[in-house]
């Protein structure tokens, strides 16, 4: 099944998310910050990126901006963040994120969004 890249600095949250995604049959890869995410993106070419926004080294906004201005810009990015204000959401979308999910994550909703974007992505690429 599709490979999802999880970018998350909090180990516990990453572990939890990855295991839940695995249980739903997704393959996953984990990057701990923006820099690592960009590296892995090149190598793995994931179907979708789940991006935490507040990250050390390079934060999610910046990573997303770089992705969205590069050759792999068709890969959907769903922002995952504990910032809950409307303006935070706006900021994420301006940075180029395709979707936005507030922590604590509503998992079924997130799954819905992932399927949505994967469907679209495949549609577009084919």
């Amino acid at each position: 099944m599709a490979l999802l890249l999880v970018v998350e600095d909090n180990e516990m949250n990453a572990d939890m998310l990855i295991r839940r995604l695995n249980r739903k049959g997704f393959e996953t890869a984990w990057a701990i910050n923006g820099v690592q995410a960009l590296e892995m993106l090149e190598k793995l070419k994931p179907a979708l990126i789940l991006m935490d926004l507040s990250l050390p080294e390079m934060d999610g906004y910046q990573a997303t901006r770089i992705i969205k201005s590069g050759p792999l810009r068709h890969i959907p990015v769903i922002a995952l963040t504990a910032h809950a204000l409307l303006e935070d959401q706006q900021k994420a979308l301006t940075a180029g994120c395709d979707d936005y999910e507030t922590k604590p994550i509503n998992f079924p909703q997130l799954l819905g969004k992932i399927h949505n974007h994967l469907g679209e992505a495949y549609d577009n690429s084919e």
Binding site: M12, N13, R20, A84, P104
Partner: protein, 787 residues
């Protein structure tokens, strides 16, 4: 040319009006006099000379005529006689007849012709050297036979002139006197008032007293001038007052502007604080969501896993542990926020006790060591000398040290963290100093300034990288301050930081605290005399939950309740029948015998029927409770204040007698009103003497509220009297006085009284608070002496 400026005015413009007036009057009179004198003199002069000439001519002609015969006949003797006739005229100095150039006859006789040369030849009258001369020909038959000469002096004119001068001098003197009178009059009625007015005006203008008014003496022009000056002054005064009003207005405006500026500054500060708060809340929300994400996520996953068949218990246990740790993290965050808000509201309490520094250090290190290790940091502890016993709040100090150490460990990677502890002596006295040094990332100058501010984070990116909320230091500094100490920091970016916390070995106020304990210890003997069971309200608590017993014991014992515990309905009934209680608090939900049954039983037995019962439960079945005879109802969970107000109605009444001594009816009424709904029995006395009498009669007075200034016996005398009676000497006194006390009076008073309250400046809460504190202390003392 500036000749018109005051100093350069010509002198005549500068001379006073009076001088000018006087001199012009005198001058004018003199001028008139002079003109008169001159013209008169001239006139008289002319007249006299003409007359003198005419007279001389006539005399000459007469004499010449008379002497014709004598000349004709050469009779010198008769000629001399004729000439002698001129003797009648005293002014004729000389008369002479010349015949053929020789003196023919002369008067006075004997004068020679010498000098006659000087006589002018020819006829007529002439003036020469103050003498008139006349020469008349003596004609006989148309032949000039000789000549007659007469000389006359001007003596007569001199006399006239002398008289004239006398007249003029008299006139002059008279004129001077007249001028004097006139000018005096003028002076009195014009110059004097004018110059007085002028002096007055000068003074007014110098003193700028525009409310002064000139006095009007006459109704003439000066009077008018006074009037118009006064009008002018009134006008000026009006303008002056307008001006001063303007000034007042201006200062007011200025002040208002200042206030406005202050308000704006305040608003800006408030806005900034608000901003920081919002920012903080946003961060907080972020921080809370992160662990919640894990907690909720793992929980949901566990739900999933549990429904699966292949259940890995070890994995499950690990996940549960993660949930637990995330939950604990959340809890510590929430606690931090609560602490901070408590500190901000000034509600953080200190609990001071004696503790050992070494134990504290071991304790903190035990917690921090694993963290240090996990970040590859070496932890060193260095205790300099003997620290000994510290009297302070150990929990707060532990938290400060933990915060400082966890920061050091957090912001240092594979480095060195040192904790140094020393006892020092400085200007503030004996102090303990803990110093936490690290070799970590350090803090920039700019960030150092905001480090300790609550709700302000040092560096957003740092925080993002290292986690945390930026509350640790804010809380730590507040704690340090509460303990009478401080935290300082020194840091260099890239080199590391040193945080030093310092606080007194004995927290300030600790002395008083211990002294107070001693004092209450001394009071034991006195308070033992008081009938203890009578004072305390006996409360029977029937509840199966031990926690409830503990809570009530804690909450009520300080407020005059003695709690008797029964852990079941059966036990409760047994106790209720055996002993006497003032009130029973009853739980409904209990095993075996529930509260309803107990209530029914209590209300059906004669012995317990009248004991009030308060239901204490989670079931909100009020009506049923009342129907079964319950007196009151409390729904769990219950706040302390609700509990106290409900139970108050069932306390032993008049247990707290308060004696109020004040001569002011207003105060009596006010205190009465303030204490109306409290459980106190207020006894009033109008002066110290009356108060003493009441003390003798009314046993068990708990507190005296005392005014100072009263008739018959004032407050100071009352205190002296009371101290002489050992049975009353221990009754606490609260002084309520409008009297302004000096520091000395105050400290003297405080040796014998508990509290001094300023009349008109205290609130109901303050009064009750003071009374309650004293009553609470007494109860504590009694309890201690009882146990």
């Amino acid at each position: 040319m500036a000749r018109l400026s005051a100093d350069t005015h010509p002198w005549w413009r500068r001379t006073s009006l009076r001088l000018k007036l006087q001199s012009s009057i005198v001058g004018y009179a003199l001028l008139v006099l002079l003109i008169c004198a001159v013209s008169l003199t001239w006139f008289a002069n002319t007249y006299f000379h003409q007359k003198a000439q005419r007279d001389l001519q006539m005399l000459g002609e007469v004499l010449a005529d008379n002497s014709r015969a004598a000349v004709t006949f050469d009779d010198a003797g008769s000629a001399a006689n004729i000439l002698e006739a001129s003797k009648g005229n005293p002014h004729i100095r000389m008369a002479m007849i010349l015949k053929d150039g020789k003196v023919f006859a002369a008067y006075p006789p004997g004068i020679t012709s010498e000098g006659v040369d000087r006589l002018r030849p020819g006829d007529g009258v002439w003036l020469h050297e103050d003498h008139y001369y006349v020469s008349v020909p003596i004609v006989v038959a148309k032949d000039v036979k000789g000549r007659l000469y007469l000389q006359s002096d001007l003596q007569e004119w001199e006399e006239v002139k002398g008289n004239l001068y006398k007249v003029f001098s008299g006139l002059f003197a008279g004129l001077l006197v007249l001028t004097g009178i006139v000018s005096y009059w003028l002076n009195m009625h014009i110059t004097r008032p004018l110059s007085a007015l002028s002096t007055w005006a000068t003074q007014v203008s110098r003193a700028k007293d525009f409310n002064a008014r000139a006095v009007k003496h006459n109704d003439d022009e000066v009077g008018t001038l006074v009037d118009s000056l006064n009008t002018m002054l009134a006008e000026l005064a009006k303008q002056e007052s307008i001006r001063s009003w303007n000034e007042i207005l201006e200062t007011e405006i200025r002040e208002r502007k200042e206030v406005e500026r202050d308000l704006i500054a305040m608003r800006n500060r408030a806005e900034a604080a608000n901003q920081a708060k919002s920012q903080f809340l946003a961060n907080m929300s972020h921080e809370l969501r992160t662990p919640l994400n894990a907690i909720i996520g793992y929980s949901e996953m566990l739900q999933d896993v549990m429904t699966d068949e292949e259940l890995d218990r070890v994995e499950l246990a690990g996940d549960v542990d993660k949930i637990r740790s995330a939950g604990k993290h959340l809890l510590s965050l929430i606690n931090d926020i609560l602490d901070l808000s408590k500190i901000e509201a000034g509600k953080m309490d200190l609990s001071i006790e004696a503790f050992n520094a070494d134990e504290l250090i071991q304790d903190v290190i035990g917690t921090i060591a694993p963290l240090a290790e996990s970040r590859g940091n070496r932890l060193r502890i260095n205790v300099e000398g003997e620290i000994g016993i510290i009297y302070s709040d150990v929990t707060k100090i532990r938290q400060i040290l933990f915060n400082l150490l966890s920061n050091a460990v957090k912001f240092t990677h594979q480095g060195q963290v040192d904790l140094t502890c020393a006892r020092i002596h400085d200007v503030h006295g004996e102090q303990v100093e803990f110093s936490v040094h690290d070799s970590g990332i350090g803090i920039s100058q700019e960030n150092l300034e905001v480090l300790f501010k609550p709700f302000s984070q040092a560096d957003a990116s740092t925080t993002r990288k290292y986690g945390g909320t930026g509350l640790g230091l804010a809380i730590s500094r507040s704690y340090a301050k509460m303990l009478g100490g401080e935290i300082v920091v020194a840091s260099e970016v890239g080199k590391g930081s040193t945080f030093t916390v310092k606080f007194p070995v004995q927290m300030e106020g600790i002395g008083e605290l211990f002294a107070e304990r001693e004092a209450t210890g001394h009071e034991r003997a006195a308070s033992r005399e008081l009938d203890e069971p009578l004072e305390q309200t006996q409360l029977l608590l029937i509840d199966d939950d031990e926690a409830v017993h503990n809570i009530l014991q804690y909450q009520l014992s300080r407020h005059g309740y003695m709690i008797h515990s029964a852990m079941s309905g059966k036990e409760g009934l047994k106790k209720a029948f055996e002993e006497n209680f003032d009130v029973i608090v009853l739980d409904i939900l209990m095993p075996e015998m529930d509260g309803w049954q107990v209530l029914q039983k209590l209300k059906s037995e004669a012995k317990t029927m009248s004991i009030p019962v308060v239901l204490y439960t989670i079931v909100a079945d009020k009506e049923k409770g009342y129907a079964l005879g319950a007196d009151d109802y409390l729904v769990k969970p219950i706040s302390k204040s609700k509990l106290l107000t409900t139970l108050k109605n069932y306390r032993r009444s008049s247990s707290n007698k308060i004696l109020l001594i004040d001569d002011d009816r207003h105060t009596l009424e006010l205190v009465d009103a303030y204490l109306a709904d409290m459980d106190y029995q207020l006894i009033k006395a109008e002066n110290g003497r009356e108060g003493l009498d009441i003390l003798q009669v009314e046993q068990g007075t708990m507190i005296i509220l005392l005014d100072l200034i009263m008739p018959v016996m004032n407050g100071f005398e009352f205190i002296d009297e009371v101290r002489k009676h050992p049975e009353f000497a221990k009754i606490p006194i609260i002084v309520i006085s409008a009297h302004d006390l000096s520091n000395k009076e105050r400290s003297l008073l405080l040796q014998h009284t508990q509290v001094i309250i300023k009349k008109g400046e205290y609130s109901r809460q303050e009064l009750i608070g003071n009374i309650e504190t004293i009553l609470g202390n007494q109860r504590d003392a009694r309890k201690r002496s009882g146990s």
